[in-house]
Symmetry: C2
Subunit: 315 residues, 2 copies
Amino acid sequence: MQNLKVGIDIGGTNITYGIVNDSGEVILKKSFPIKEFGTAEIFVDFISKELKESFKNLEKESNILGIGIGAPNGNYYTGSIEFAPNLKWEGKIPLAEMLNEKMDYPVLLTNDANAATMGEMIYGDAKNLKNFLFVTLGTGVGSGFVANGELILGHDGFAGELGHAIFDPKGRQCNCGRKGCLETYASATGIVRTVKELLSQSNEPSILRDIPENEITSKKIYEAALKNDLIALTTFDYTSYILGVMLANAVAITSPEAIFLFGGLANAGDFIFKPTKKYMEENLLKIFKNKIEIKPSGLSESDAAILGAAALIKD
Amino acid sequence: MQNLKVGIDIGGTNITYGIVNDSGEVILKKSFPIKEFGTAEIFVDFISKELKESFKNLEKESNILGIGIGAPNGNYYTGSIEFAPNLKWEGKIPLAEMLNEKMDYPVLLTNDANAATMGEMIYGDAKNLKNFLFVTLGTGVGSGFVANGELILGHDGFAGELGHAIFDPKGRQCNCGRKGCLETYASATGIVRTVKELLSQSNEPSILRDIPENEITSKKIYEAALKNDLIALTTFDYTSYILGVMLANAVAITSPEAIFLFGGLANAGDFIFKPTKKYMEENLLKIFKNKIEIKPSGLSESDAAILGAAALIKD
């Protein structure tokens, strides 16, 4: 008899679900554009039928343990998506409860970064760690803190927002309405802002000057850095400096054994890992120096969200 | 039969111990200048005899559950004081083990701010809170974070150093060797630095100009603020601004239900609580706004360290 878990990842563009076995393998995965589901009710109707259909095709000897959902602004305590700015479904949506009514399985929900953190702990490289930090450097910056072997959810279920810790209160305008959040610097969008700033401030020649400003992406900055483009290299250094300082501050609070970086920017490898480690060390209190690894996530980028959501369900 | 716990507070000037009953009352308290104990061995010899003597005088129906110690740079996992800059006892001192060898009771040790945090949780106003933050605003700034009902110790036992989270990497020189730590602004020494800065930068008349620079203390700044002295009021506002921003960043990470302020600066009451709350709210992510209380500790200043140390011992 194999135990299976379902992971559902609700993203701004697609909703993906996967069925995960005991070994942490995604044995089935399907994706649907979220725009097909005008309301959460329509989605719940659809996914409950879809899952029941999938379950029929599984070996008879399978036991479904439950359904985990990772969603932007997802709250573990309430099982709701609460005012997610990048979803069309508005207000508070009690998605876990809605799905639980249609399906005979436990349904748990949390925000996408917390889900990915759980995925790293259950299926990734944090299996034996009781204290670690997981940071997603994507369009935005998300994070999950594990202390004493447990995810920190906070009293309201919204803990772990390192992306909205403020680096500079007079700094860049953030989508959240405040200024100088880490996310405005150390995300795929933040790094593009840095390039534009540097291009406007200097006369340094750069491959990036040949690209229309609106087409500059973190990937193109990475490619320019590979060609030793000084603007691109300076951009990675500056991004890493701010990330390093903010990680040092996070370390002062939770003292993790390791920090995992995940998502688009983390794919820039040494351009981001080496200087981030250097600047973090420079800004660490002496008692924390040379103790903390910064490393890439052990989850594959394509499965991380599914595994994370599935990891909410206990064995 | 009453259960009793011993709390020992190792300070830079005095060592104090107290015996605490089930109701959280300190039924006996004694203090000794630390300079009487040239080495930790001398202290352990002394305190073990002293405690045995005190225990003899207790009612027969008393049951000693254990001995808790709060000490600067105390590490819960190792039971050692590790390289405390303000103690004469140098290096790593396995104080819990040393005392345990002389006494037939469990001995636990942690750092002073973490001990005070435990005190707030067991004997103070955080009895029903699973997620809170405790900040000591004394000569330095210490802190303890409780998440999921447990103190965050970190993988190495040194978590909770909010005082050394960096507000401004180009800011004030800190004793820790780095720059711009919260402690250089929001401590009794930090607030004096702010006054000196403001006095030198403006021509604003101030009572504080009548005091020799070396005699300005946080208490005198408070007294000047009571008289509406503009320099003193501006100093509290500036201090609270930096504290508010850093508390907002800490909230983004652990999302506490309440924040307790303790120690010298907290005695300034509304001069520190009101503007700190205001600036924290201004710098909070929307999901955290108007949810978090900032309040004074429920422990009396004279007993907090003893109660905190005693709180390490479980019932």
